[in-house]
Amino acid sequence: MPDKKQDLIDQKLQDLNNDGVDRRGFLKCMAWAGTGLVWTLSGGIPVSRAFAKSSGKDVDKSADFSFVQISDSHIGFNKPANPDVTATLQTAINKINAIPHKPDFIIHTGDLSQLSKPSEFDTLDQVLRGASAKQIYFVPGEHDMLTDNGEQYLQRYGKGTKGSGWSSFDHKGVHFVGLVNVANLKAGGMGSLGHEQLEWLEDDLKGRSASTPIVLYAHIPLWTIYPDWGWGTDDSEQALSYVKRFGSVTVLNGHIHQIMQKIEGKVSFHTAMSTAFPQPAPGTAPSAGPMKVPADQLQQVLGITDVNYLVSGRSLAIVDSPLGASGSSASGNGGGPGGS
């Protein structure tokens, strides 16, 4: 059964360059090599170019603005898969601060904390204060709703949001929508947006020009990746029907702690790595839980996502970079817990 499912996933990926390497294979190679991967969408057709982490000149020249997505910081997690998630989050922030084309803001796609504890949110805030990008947008993950239906999360990060924390904003001509699909989850189900939020979304998009680039972001993937592990959103089809008419739609998610991408017409879906710990590929382990990798590989399977909006062609280029290169153990992160 798992093989069949894997085939279905791979069918969605195509060998665009006819060089015998499909997108999944390409992504795997690039992630392993530690280089960033640039996906550019021109009129809905993806064109890929690999570039060395240190340059990125191609993207810089034409970029109108950029922002960074981070996800799944799980502050408070302290098990073998990563005894010091605060340190790896700090590494991610340092990496963001070092990006030559300064990102305008950061989007955190949820699971800020591990147990929704005040101390965990406090620690997160402390680390994020060191980001040079001062504007940070959040959506909650299921780990942020553990104690009080997300009351505390909303108090800290929900200003200007509605319901369980959804909102939208415009930035330099691009319309961003933060959705919450981790509230009121039903037994046996996956992620859920709910009727009230869907109504709000439909209304929010109404009347906008179809040439407005749209970015949707939510914690759990808005496309069905692996139902057995709850990797999908039960009512996302309705949400996606509202964005169908737009010329460029980008969906940014987290939750699965690994990169997955899919392009369907003018909509490109992308999930980010975690800054805390990796999770296994669908069906390759008994469950979706934290996956332990050798200590010197941890930095390669955690990462950030740099998104560049290119005015020419009105497209977004998504670049995933791991926190570190192969074999490197960043100083301060090696050894035992309690890194600076």
């Binding site: 098990k79 898969a81 553990l146 104690t147 039903k186 037994a187 189900g189 057995d228 709850g230 469950s287």
Partner: protein, 119 residues
């Protein structure tokens, strides 16, 4: 027969009769998942409840223990019980005072479901 054997035989018979009477008289005996003890354990591991279905007598206490390195919750779909979030090695117990079928799930990972049957 030796005296010891006679003693054992005379003890065994009433014990056997008592056991037979117990078995015949109790409708709760089933071949699997039967817990007549006051406390029944459900392990939470690999994002699943094990055993997924448990049958207990009225008045029994069920204790869930989280063996995953991810927090979970135990929430009745009918609002009968609801645990606080349970991290690794933390437990949640509930005593079932009424007969019935109690489906539940993990509100954090809703694909995780289980049932307690109270007879």
């Amino acid at each position: 027969m030796t005296r010891q054997n006679v003693w054992v035989a005379s003890l065994a018979t009433p014990v056997m009769i008592a056991v037979l009477l117990l078995l015949l008289g109790s409708p709760n005996v089933t071949a699997t998942d039967q817990s007549s003890a006051a406390n029944t354990e459900v392990k939470i591991d690999n994002f699943s409840f094990g055993p997924q279905t448990v049958t207990v007598p009225v008045g029994a206490t069920v204790t869930w223990t989280n063996r995953d390195d991810i927090p979970h919750t135990v929430v009745s779909t009918d609002g009968v019980f609801k645990s606080k979030v349970r991290d690794t090695d933390e437990k949640f117990s509930y005593t079932f005072t009424k007969a019935g079928t109690y489906p539940y799930f993990c509100s954090v990972h809703p694909k995780m479901t289980g049932t307690i049957v109270v007879q």
